[in-house]
Symmetry: C2
Subunit: 379 residues, 2 copies
């Protein structure tokens, strides 16, 4: 994404809020909405009784060393702060009840706007589970989807690596800061992901992993994705949390069955009994997501219409999308050969954040396909 | 069963009807119901315009050699003809739309009145599938259920053998006459089943196996059983027919999941997608059947009340069953140690066919348990 709607000052103000003790995502979102910007929140923090004393102290007198480190992180090429107030904030994630106040991104945030499929599963996967993770990730990547997972050992790592090997993009959502890679042995993998995808976290730079971070991380994996596929999972696996959150968020949950003698099939079998779709092939997942794509597009269009300030592409009905003048400009700019977002912006004279959301709507409607590397083509 | 309500003459008359060309199960049931007995149908066949010419010819002038062979089969110890008109006809099977007009039984027909669970699956099962068939059959037999299957190679044979090895009873429903064993290599197994269970067929003695017999056989397997468990099945497996019939008959369908790479898991996965219960352990099947047992008991009680002539135990409501004088006599005759049906008949002075149906009602209500070998105990 070449345009960043959040200025450096505003980004630093957001970081002050994100680092304030006891200030949750919902509170931050509400404060910024009420005051108009993070800088305004900071300017008026002393007079806002809704901010508890400890948070107010932290916001008004931030730690200088932390602030300098945050500034260095923001200035580093490839690092982005995507706030809930930004049009770049991923639309599907915006839709979940406990949406993060902001995302720290190392890599290209464009992938956050692509159609994502989550692949999750056990850290202690079997050889056959790892092979299945690789095969499904490859198929999803080759059909133009971004594979989203949690960078954990086992299924997660196999899915990320296979998506990259297939020339696709992959998003790793972390339970640490994007500059703290856990597990350590996935350092090289994380570097590849930052280059051909994105490392994403709601935790500020430098945050170490804590056990309670990982279930929170899971809601972001589920919230970014159209659907979540669980490959192998024990009955107490964190993957079942991700799947439950996906179902609660109205997203599709997919699970691979296995032998009744394999403890790592138990979690998948539980999900299937609870209503997850039993999956044998990647095409079944893709077929099902095409089906729910249209429904999500409707919903998303509503959200985009009501939510984002300055977006002039509001409420085109599905059949009339092509008659909306801005959609008509975008469709005229599209081609049978893949076109980059920058090129589309130049051709259509539409701002990139608006373009991103319009392209996702068209993608979910099946009019546009996203090719690897943020290039778009008429479907 | 020590009492046989069908006399030798009446049995031969039924055989004449069963062997008449073009006379289906529904037509035979209707004729006998209209004329009062099979002998009356034969006596009035020349004057009944509903009987087509070929069937009438066969009925009025039966082949002498066939008749002699049928008589020999009927006289052989252990062989029984259970007609639809008999109180011995299994109540659950009576309930299906296309119930056979009669069952040829080699073995003890008492097992037809026990709670049965069908285990079916591929003839070309894997080693793991065969091991699963054995383990589930053993568990069902040890919990006092009769294992019902089709005597085929693979899953069927493994289930029969394991039920017998566990000291339980098993019923094999054949697509041939009970005196024609197919596949040949199951001759020894069939002999064991006739001794500790029953070979059952709707086809008269001497009938060879034809491809169209086996789907018809499958409806009897499903119809006799409270539920059907499919262990391994390809997408074109006859086991899927059995499962579909079981579902259509309102019985429970259970399926074992497996690897997405195993062609023999595909049929089971299809069943699970279509609503079959995904099964990991035998206890799950037994628990589920206890649940539907009560429902079937209600239904069965209605049928028994309206259907069987001379049964004096009509319409006891579930809670009042114990207050019905005949049920009270039966409950008084039962004990915490298993009691044989003969002993129960002597103690309660109730006729054995009435006893059998009352015991099934109590069994389905969870008041009585059937132990191996037709012995009953208070649950």
């Amino acid at each position: 994404m070449t345009v960043d709607s959040t200025t450096a000052d505003e980004a630093l103000a957001w970081l002050a809020l994100l680092r304030a003790p006891g200030l949750g995502a919902g509170a931050i979102r509400a404060l910024v909405a009420r005051h108009g910007s993070a800088r305004s929140v900071l300017a008026q923090a002393r007079r806002d009784p809704s901010i508890a004393a400890a948070a107010r102290e932290s916001v008004c007198a931030p730690d200088g060393a932390t602030q300098a480190a945050d500034q260095r992180w923001l200035e580093q090429p490839g690092n982005h702060l995507i706030t809930f107030a930004s049009e770049d904030y991923p639309a599907l994630l915006r839709d979940i009840p406990s949406a993060p106040a902001a995302l720290f991104v190392a890599g290209d945030p464009i992938h956050l706007w692509s159609a994502q499929i989550a692949i999750v599963g056990s850290r202690n996967a079997t050889a056959s589970g790892l092979a299945n993770a690789r095969a499904f990730a490859k198929a999803f990547a080759q059909s133009g989807n971004v594979v989203t997972s949690g960078l954990a050992e086992g299924i997660d790592g196999a899915a990320h690596a296979a998506a990259l090997d297939a020339g696709g993009a992959t998003i790793a959502v972390l339970g640490t800061g994007t500059d703290v890679i856990y597990p350590r042995q996935h350092g090289d993998l994380a570097a590849r992901i930052a280059t051909n995808g994105a490392l994403v976290s709601e935790f500020p730079p430098g945050t170490a992993g804590k056990p309670e971070h990982f279930p929170r991380r899971n809601r972001i994996i589920a919230g970014l994705s159209l659907g979540t596929l669980v490959i192998e999972a024990g009955l107490n696996s964190g993957s079942l949390i991700t799947a439950r959150l996906a179902a609660e968020q109205g997203r599709e949950v997919f699970a691979l069955p296995g032998s009744i003698h394999s403890p790592l099939a138990r979690g998948c079998h539980k999900l299937i009994r609870d209503g997850a779709m039993l999956i044998e092939t990647a095409d079944e997942v893709l077929g099902q997501l095409r089906g729910i794509g249209a429904r999500l597009a409707d919903h998303l269009r509503g959200r985009l219409g009501e939510g984002s300030a300055g977006a002039a592409h509001e409420n085109p009905a599905p059949a009339t999308a092509k008659r909306d003048p801005e959609y008509a400009r975008l469709l005229a700019a599209l081609d049978r050969t893949p076109v980059s977002l920058d090129e589309l912006a130049e051709r259509s004279r539409l701002p990139i954040p608006a373009l991103s959301s319009m392209l996702l709507v068209l993608e979910l409607e099946g009019v546009v396909s996203a090719a690897n590397g943020g290039r778009y083509v008429l479907a």
